[in-house]
């Protein structure tokens, strides 16, 4: 019920570090999960069962399914400030206030990198402050890391937030997904890990995670996990993967630059620097639902009504058309 052992081993190295002492000391309870969704859900069910009085703090905005997951796990939800619409960046002061004001020992959902849907990530210094304050309050940090390697092109760099928290001595949980960074979307490959005090506790926690997985799907699908363990377990394949993930990340970063430059060349009156400041798959454009509707109706451009653009859908072939359309619907605002 724990899934492919090798796959989990390699996956922990990616998140915690190749030479992580936590791995060596066997302090991590980890099971293969059904991609990021399944990992979050398993953790939410575990949280409900073993900390039944706890609640989860979720950033505003977040991936819509996060709300569904914790709701179906019957864990009460609160929100914390995250996105600052005026600057199209991080509302850091309000975020810190929310961390401070939450009751001690609350659970906080953090996007490790490439926040979905905004693409806005805390800076390293901001992460350190967040980590410090979370420690002071005794909160439990749960990381959803769906884009490791896919954000900056460098998996180590994308795991920085997690490493900061580990250095600061937090016990954390992590949901990892291979949907994007290995393109294994439909194979449903991921991992849930919980850092424990010692090996004994890790064994106990792992056994309880398996108890939750068994009445849901018994054991996870082998195929995707085998692909992952084959790649990560072979130095040549792993090295090839690192190259390929960087190519994907670079193309997206290139499209961000191209979209911003195109908009600026068109003489848009608005600032579009957030396009290149945000990171990962998505750009939170700042467009209103009405503007998005116009993009769809008049230009046949499809995106979610919160103005989130999937940069992966942008190509050198369509970036000009997209920039023109965005400019047309926003220039009078």
């Amino acid at each position: 019920m724990g899934g492919s052992v090798k796959m989990v081993e390699e996956t922990l190295k990616l998140a915690y570090g190749e030479d992580s002492k936590f791995i060596k000391d066997k302090r991590i309870a980890a099971v293969q999960a059904l991609s990021g969704t399944g990992a979050c859900r398993l953790f939410a069910d575990f949280q409900k069962r073993f900390r039944p009085d706890s609640q989860i703090y979720i950033p505003v905005p977040t991936w819509a399914n996060h709300h569904n997951i914790w709701r179906d796990a019957h864990v009460p939800q609160r929100t914390y400030h995250y996105y600052h619409p005026e600057s199209k960046g991080l509302d850091f002061a309000a975020l810190m206030d929310d961390v401070k004001n939450a009751p001690n020992g609350s659970f906080f959902l953090l996007h490790a990198c490439a926040h979905n849907p905004t693409g806005v990530d805390p800076s390293e210094d901001q992460w350190r402050e967040i980590s410090y304050q979370i420690k002071v309050k005794g909160h439990f940090p749960f990381f959803d890391m769906a884009y490791q390697g896919f954000a900056s092109g460098d998996p180590e760099r994308d795991a920085k937030s997690i490493r900061i928290f580990l250095e600061d001595g937090h016990a954390i949980g992590i949901a990892q997904s291979y949907a994007k960074n290995m393109g294994l979307y439909g194979q449903r490959v991921g991992c849930l890990s919980v850092l424990c005090e010692d090996e004994k506790q890790a064994i106990a926690v792992k056994s309880q995670l398996q108890q939750l997985a068994r009445p849901m799907y018994s054991n996870p699908p082998v195929h995707g996990a085998l692909i992952v363990s084959t790649i990560l377990g072979n130095p040549d394949l792993k090295s090839l993967w690192l190259k390929e993930v960087k190519v994907m990340a670079d193309r997206i970063i290139g499209m961000r630059t191209a979209l911003r430059e195109n908009l600026e060349k068109l003489g848009s009156p608005l600032s579009w620097k957030h396009i290149t400041e945000q990171i990962g798959m998505f750009c939170y454009s700042g467009m209103t639902p009405e503007q998005v509707d116009r993009l769809t109706k008049e230009y046949h451009i499809y995106m979610t009504r919160n103005g989130r653009i999937s940069m992966a859908g942008v190509t050198t072939g369509n970036v000009g058309y997209l920039a023109n359309a965005i400019n047309e619907v926003t220039k009078s605002s």
Partner: protein
């Protein structure tokens, strides 16, 4: 580091069934036998990947145009259609009238869980009646889904057969509208199935009390060797125009165990209802795992859609079923020849992967200790784990267990 917020979490007991394999693996005896988990083994005691499955996988891998994009929440459409045809029959009125919704799920377990969650949210009766005994995971699946579990009498230890009277009484006194879990064929763990006549009586009772049948079909084709014969109970219920749920698994009959391939079908009165039900199933699935895994379902669709591959599959399936039936007969004959006390005819009367031997937990423990035979403590043995070579050893162990003094 401060005290962990999970400091109080205790180690959970090993899963009873899978725990048998864990113990088996630790044993170093050369004569050890794993009759625990319900996975098919060849005469050589090895797992079997069906030849037609390998073919299907190869063709998938060779197809460079295939991608790994997310499936829809309800899974691979072609897989869903073909699965419904497989269990209900291509000419089923429910399918013709478009009043079945079928969604791809994670094998039988996932199908049961999604169905259970749907019922807990949308059905007026939150009680599900499950047979005594049943697969160990059933009560947990339905409890976590939000239903309350009650039992109906099923197995009669005295006859090692069906407690039909008890079954009728218990379902007869269930509240109107309660959900009833039925093993479509090859009851797990007992191998005891109702006869066709008994199924008809059960159907009549269930319909007259407006109980809602939920079939667990994990062994279609694997029990008798015939896909149609093993689907008879389900089709009987669908033929009367009533509603039901069916959880299908391809773990055993296609040997796709670890790929986690299955389907949940809900047969509704009208296609309009089926359409709305489907939209609600999506809301159950999305916060659980978003969408199901592509690989296994693609293998199934590849095989079911191709006439030749389908035929090959039925042949390989029958071969597995036949080998198991042959093991039943060999074990029975061997015990008879040894003069082992007791009536062992249930071994050949029961059907499917398992035999409920009737051995008690002390006898089982004895057999494990002295003969390195691993099985669940309820006396259930997986016939698939046997071969002509190992049957004598098992017969020796059973003989010793029932004749020893204590």
């Amino acid at each position: 580091m401060a005290d962990s917020v999970f400091d109080h979490v205790v180690r959970a007991p090993e899963d009873a069934i899978l725990g048998v394999t864990v113990a088996f693996n630790k044993d170093t005896s050369p004569v050890k036998l794993n009759l625990g988990v319900g996975a098919y083994r060849t005469e050589e005691g090895k797992p079997l990947v069906l030849s037609v499955v390998r073919q299907a996988e190869q063709s998938l891998v060779n197809d460079a145009s295939r991608v790994k994009e997310y499936l829809p929440i309800i899974g691979l459409a072609e897989f869903n259609k073909l699965s419904a045809k497989l269990i209900f029959g291509a000419d089923s009125p429910a399918i013709q009238e478009n009043r079945v919704t079928t969604v791809q799920c994670l094998s039988g377990t996932g199908s049961l869980r999604v169905g259970g969650e749907f019922l807990a949210r949308h059905y007026h009766e939150r009680t599900i009646y499950i047979p005594q005994p049943t697969w160990g995971n059933h009560p947990k699946v339905f409890t976590l889904a939000g239903l309350s579990v009650k039992y109906y009498r099923y197995y009669d230890p005295a006859t090692r057969g069906l407690d039909f009277q008890g079954l009728l009484e218990d379902l007869g006194s269930a509240p109107t509208g309660a959900v009833v879990l039925l093993h479509a064929c090859a009851h797990n763990p007992t191998g005891v199935d109702p006869t066709v006549e008994q199924w008809e009586q059960i159907r009549h009772l269930i319909r007259s009390k407006k109980l809602l049948p939920f079939f667990d079909s994990a062994y279609q084709g694997f029990a008798s060797g015939s896909l149609d014969a093993d689907a008879q109970s389900v089709r009987m219920f669908v033929a009367d125009g009533g509603e039901c749920l069916v959880a299908q698994s391809y773990a055993k009959n296609m040997g796709l165990y670890g790929e986690r391939v299955g389907a949940l079908s809900i047969v509704c009165k009208t296609s309009d209802v089926a359409g709305r039900v489907e939209t609600q199933l999506k809301l159950v699935i999305r916060p659980m795992y978003s969408n199901p895994p592509i690989h296994g379902a693609s293998i199934v669709a590849t095989i079911l859609r191709d006439k030749d591959m389908y035929n090959e599959w039925t042949i390989e399936l029958k071969a597995m079923a036949d080998r198991i039936i042959s093991m039943r007969h060999q074990l029975f004959e061997t015990l008879k020849a040894r003069g082992t006390p007791g009536d062992w005819s249930h071994i050949i009367k029961q059907i499917g992967m398992f035999t409920f031997t009737g051995l008690n937990s002390e006898q089982v423990a004895f057999m494990t200790r002295e003969y390195h035979i691993y099985m669940t403590s309820d006396g259930r043995i997986s016939m698939a784990g046997l071969s002509s070579r190992t049957i004598p050893h098992l017969a020796d162990a059973i003989h010793a267990a029932v004749t020893r003094a204590s």
